[in-house]
Each structure stands twice: as structure tokens, then as C-alpha cells.
Symmetry: C2
Subunit: 335 residues, 2 copies
DNA sequence: GACTAACCTGAAACCGGTTTCATTGCAAGT
DNA sequence: ACTTGCAATGAAACCGGTTTCAGGTTAGTC
């Protein structure tokens, strides 16, 4: 706002009767400047309303003060929350995030990353995604890179993610502890590692409790509400007996819940239900949904802050955050 | 990806045995180039893996190929959808969106806009927000600006928004047509123009139907689920008689629906319910929520595309999109 | 008083593109 | 044959900063 944006460093220099170099030094505190000149420069910037041209800065200095963020519009509010966290984590650091969309397609992702590189971003924050690890390894040699919500071997301290196996285990165990043995699992997208890992946790909990695994209880769907209703319809029409459902995420749980009610089944009296994500709507569902709470905003924030430190070659820790069971009212003891 | 990112236009020029100028011409199709040289350049770019440096381009050409987008993290999925639309609308245009967060606070918004200007964005897309109109008018002289989801006098064809009065009117009328006369209105944030306008529509529909306005039926809240439960609790504890609810948005409707069920009231048998936004979860609520569908993604997309044309000084139309009543199962005829 | 080190400072090169300007070659017009 | 006009192209200036380099001061040391 204010002033016209075309005040340059040279204008400031003229006004303060110093050279461009000195203005630049004041601007970056890169080397010491006499007090009187410094104040003169500062005053000139004040009166002229100076806003440094980032393009010029980027070109000359080699850094763009921009972080590339690759997100996935998978529709799950989880990714939106991560992005929010990134924005929040970057606030006040001088860096701005540049979001591009990968759409969970390798080709799009690769293309999007190219765009970011063309814009000479100072760092790359990859949220989820499908880019093969060897490509990422190459990328990483070129640019500080942090991967969020995806587990990568050899990327210790460069990726932040939750323990989905553990989460699947905890959720399943919660149902088991309420007496359920016939637990339907509504899986997310087939190739999606999150889905696979939660499935592993489910199997592990079952095994530990001495419950036989029954593939009839597994529904292979995606992460949409529609998938939830289709799953329940399928289960019921196939005559599969089940007393509880562990859904791929909250959205799937909502869909399942609707389909159940269409079939005259109540939650939790007839069927218990556990979701995943703890998105905002979960607390206001009828009944409020018991779900696995992912600290999405926090993860995004942590990743962003770590990135800034990584760029500055400072020490940082990137801990895997725990997924917590958020107990509400959609799970009941089996009678 | 591929190659190191340090291939410059000069490298290409050397490789193709032409001058920088020619390469630039091929790059921008800015003037005709002999066919053989053009192919030579193209081949050189191919083999060397060239990605133009945007900072340099921006500095020299005066345009950054970046659009500043000011969003509001009001939490409503409506804003997320708008942002998604912007991303989609910009795909393939060469422009990238730079998102900053205004948090619905004037000071933050002003600051964020400064950041965008420092980055020399080619255009400004303001989504909602509180920036005073005279400040916007100044801004507009400097930079192509389009305002989304906010109505501004004198900004015809530079702002895209829905007719909230009409929307409030339609929603209310839908309830009235089902025999309801005691319709509770769960208002959004007090100063928020959307809330005020929908309120107007509500009043208008009431008046037209000859129903007396009763201020007891108005609950002043915000746009959160919690606000919905508090509203219903307040209504009931105050002993207010009502047979239907028009909620500020879907989230509020979810909260209201939960509170109703806590009080043993069924939807729609006892109380009818209408939301606003038609967010993804609405279709899978129990019962599926009748709501006013805002074409958020489409609006974002339209705004983005219009902005690109505006920058290129091309003709464009920026129509106010209609809000449509999405009839599902949360409204019943009053018996 | 001479010598050196530390500190300031301006001039100039540079970052990687775009754009203006001048030059050349060649076909068309008279 | 002699302009005239246009297409193609390279040289060079420029965009607005950062950074190197080379003085010029000033202070400290013997």
C-alpha cells in the first residue's frame, strides 16, 4: 500500500547521499555502516516508502525467499489443514509459500515441481504425493527438501509423518476393547500408503487379540463419503455380519453412518463407528464421531519452521507427531 | 527436475549458435525467427534442460507471472473451495497464485498486501476481507485487482459475489412453502456482510408471506459448529417456539442438528433445517442436509480466469453466480 | 613518525533474462 | 538500376538489487 511501488534502492541512495552499496548493506545488515549514514538511509526509506523488489533481490542474491509447497487436492480436509499449518509456520519469517497442486498424479507432480524450480524457490515442502523416492533423492541434492505426511527411508529428519500402523492399531484395539470382533475395515485408495499402513495396524490388533482375520470385512474404496455408503451397502447386501466399522477417514465414516441409518441401523447402539482425521465436522456429527486425531496443522507448522532452519543451516528436530484417539460417542460396548 | 537448474539462456544461445536475443524471441514468440534457428534453439533447450529463471524474467520484463491471492482462514470450507477454484482456473496459464492470509483482520490484510506488492505480483485477487473500499480504490489504480465474495459499489466487473439477499430469501421461502412460520435464524458474525444480507432476505421472505418478524427467533452467533449448538440451546432454554431453522452455514447447521438431537428433537420430523454452502459433508449428514449451494470453486475459477484476461487487457465477463437451493432431506412439511 | 590492521565506502561487475536499436540481406516497386 | 520496405538477427542497454574489489580513513603499535 501507500506510495508508488517504483522507489528503488538508487532513489534511496540519492536521497540519503550515499551509494547503492551502502543502502544494500543497511538493508541486509551484511556489514557495518556508520551510524549517521545508516539513520539517513533509514529515514530516506521511511519517507520514500521503499519496498525492495524481490525479483531483483532473488536474481542478484540467489535466494527468492519463497518456499515451494506441493499439496494434493485429494479433498481430504487433512491436506487443507497441513497447508494452513505451513502458512502459519512461515508467518513472520520473511518467507512466503508458493502452493502448487500435484493432484496425486505423478506426472502433474513432476510438472509442478518443475514450475517451482523455475521460480527458484529456496526450499521444497512436499506434502504427500507419489513422486518416486529416487527422483526425490536427486531433488534433495539440489534443494533443501522436506517431505510431509509420507514416510521415506533414508530421509530421517527430512520427513514428518504420523505412525499410521500404530494409529490403525489403536483404533482397532479401541473397538476390540468394547467387545467387537466383527470389525469392518473401510480401506482408502488401494495404492495409498496411509491406507495400507492403517490396514497393517488393523491386522496386528486383530491378531494380538486372537481374532481371525476375515477378508469379507475389508472393503476396498477411496476417501470419499460416497465410498462409505457404498461400503455399507456392499457389506449388507453381501450378508456380511459386522458390529463395528473402522473407516478410512471421517468423510468415509459420515457416508457409512448415513448408509447405516438408511438400513435402520443405529450408531452406536447397533454398529460402532471410528473415523480418522478428526476434521471439524466430526465433533458435530450425530452422534459425535470417535476418531483418530491427526495433528495436521501442527505438522504443517513444524515442517515449515524446520524448513526455514534447514535453509539457514541451523539445527532442528523433526519429530513424528502422535495420532491420538479422540473418544466421542460413536462407539458402544457390544452387548 | 532433471539437469542442474543453472542452464541459462546464454548456454542455449551458444549451443544453438545464435544470440541471447534470438533465444528470447523463440521463448516468447515475440517476433519472428527463421525456422531453422528456431528448431536449433528448441533442440538446445531440449538437450540442455532449460527452465527460464523467473526472477530474471520478472526483473527484466516487469511482470512476475504471479498473482497475489489474499484469503481468509475463517475456517469455512467456502474459502478453501474458492482457493481451490483459483488454483484450477490458473492451471496452464503460466501464472502461479501466491496465497497470503488476511485472517479477517484489517491490519493483517494490509500487511499481507504489502508483501504481495513487494513481490511485484501482476494482479491481486482479494477473497472476502475487510479492507476499506477507499484503500482498495487506490490499490486498483496501481494493480489489476479483482474482489471475490464481496460486493463493492463502483467495482462492477471487478468483483464476483453471490446475491446473499436473494439466497436468504430463497432459503426462507423454501421453509415457508413447507408451512413453517416460526423460523429461527442463526446469524453469522455480526459485522459480516454475508450474514447481514442473508438476514435481509429472510426478512423479505417473511414480510412477503405476511408472517410477523419475531426477534426472539434471531440468534446472533458466528460461523462455527459450536455456535449452532449454542443457538439451539439458547432457543430452547428461552422457551422460544420454532419449527424450522435457517443456519448461517452448514457447519452451524451441523451443530444445531446435534443440539436438537440432544434435546430429543428429530430432523426433519420435529424441526426442519436449512444450511448454507453445500459443503461436501452436507450430502452425508443424517439426514442429508438441504442447503444453499454456493458455486465456490466455480467462482474462484472464474475470478482467476478473468484476472488473466484483465492483465492482458482482454475482454471478459464476471457474472454473479446464482446460489441454488439444494434440496435433500432435512426439511419436511409442517403438520 | 612510519607501518599495519580494521573499518567504511563507492565503483563496478554480475545475476539472467527482455527490449531497443542498428545492421544486413533480400525481394518488391518504379 | 535505385530506392524502399520488411524480415531476421546480434549488440548493447537495462531491470534493481548483491557482492567483490580496491581505495581512503582512522586508530593502534613500536
Amino acid at each position: 500500500m501507500q506510495q508508488r511501488g517504483d522507489t528503488t534502492i538508487q532513489d534511496i541512495a540519492d536521497h540519503a547521499r550515499v551509494s547503492k552499496s551502502t543502502v544494500s548493506r543497511v538493508l541486509n545488515k551484511s556489514s557495518s555502516v556508520n551510524e549517521d549514514k545508516r539513520t539517513a538511509v533509514l529515514k530516506a526509506m521511511q519517507t520514500l516508502g521503499f519496498e525492495p523488489n524481490l525479483a531483483a533481490r532473488s536474481l542478484a542474491g540467489g535466494r527468492s525467499m519463497t518456499l515451494g509447497v506441493l499439496t494434493q487436492n485429494i479433498g481430504s480436509p487433512f491436506y487443507d489443514a497441513l497447508a494452513q499449518g505451513v502458512i502459519r509456520g512461515l508467518a513472520g519469517t520473511g518467507y512466503s509459500p508458493l502452493f502448487v497442486d500435484g493432484q496425486w498424479q505423478q506426472s502433474t507432480e513432476t510438472e509442478s515441481i518443475r514450475t517451482l524450480i523455475g521460480r527458484r524457490v529456496d526450499g521444497l515442502l512436499l506434502i504427500g504425493g507419489d513422486v518416486p523416492v529416487d527422483q526425490l533423492n536427486k531433488l534433495r541434492e539440489r534443494l533443501p527438501t522436506i517431505v510431509v505426511a509420507r514416510e521415506l527411508v533414508g530421509w530421517e529428519n527430512h520427513c514428518i509423518h504420523v505412525d499410521n500402523v500404530q494409529a490403525g492399531y489403536v483404533a482397532t484395539k479401541h473397538l476390540i476393547s468394547h467387545g467387537h470382533e466383527r470389525i469392518a475395515l473401510l480401506r482408502g485408495i488401494k495404492e495409498h500408503p496411509d491406507a495400507t499402513q492403517r490396514f497393517e495396524g488393523y491386522v496386528k490388533a486383530l491378531k494380538e487379540a486372537g481374532i481371525d482375520f476375515d477378508s469379507d470385512l475389508i472393503y476396498q474404496g477411496d476417501f470419499s463419503g460416497q465410498s462409505g455408503v457404498m461400503a455399507v451397502n456392499s457389506l449388507i447386501s453381501r450378508g456380511v455380519h459386522f458390529t463395528a466399522i473402522f473407516a478410512a477417514n471421517d468423510m468415509v465414516a459420515f457416508g457409512a453412518r448415513l448408509a447405516l441409518s438408511r438400513h435402520g441401523l443405529r450408531v452406536p447402539e447397533d454398529i460402532s463407528l471410528v473415523g480418522f482425521d478428526d476434521q471439524a465436522e466430526a465433533a458435530f456429527a450425530t452422534p459425535p464421531l470417535t476418531t483418530m486425531k491427526q495433528p495436521a496443522v501442527e505438522m504443517g507448522e513444524a515442517a515449515a519452521q524446520a524448513m526455514v532452519k534447514l535453509i539457514h543451516n541451523e539445527q532442528y528436530e523433526l519429530a513424528c507427531s502422535p495420532v491420538e484417539l479422540q473418544i466421542r460417542e460413536s462407539v458402544a460396548r457390544l452387548r
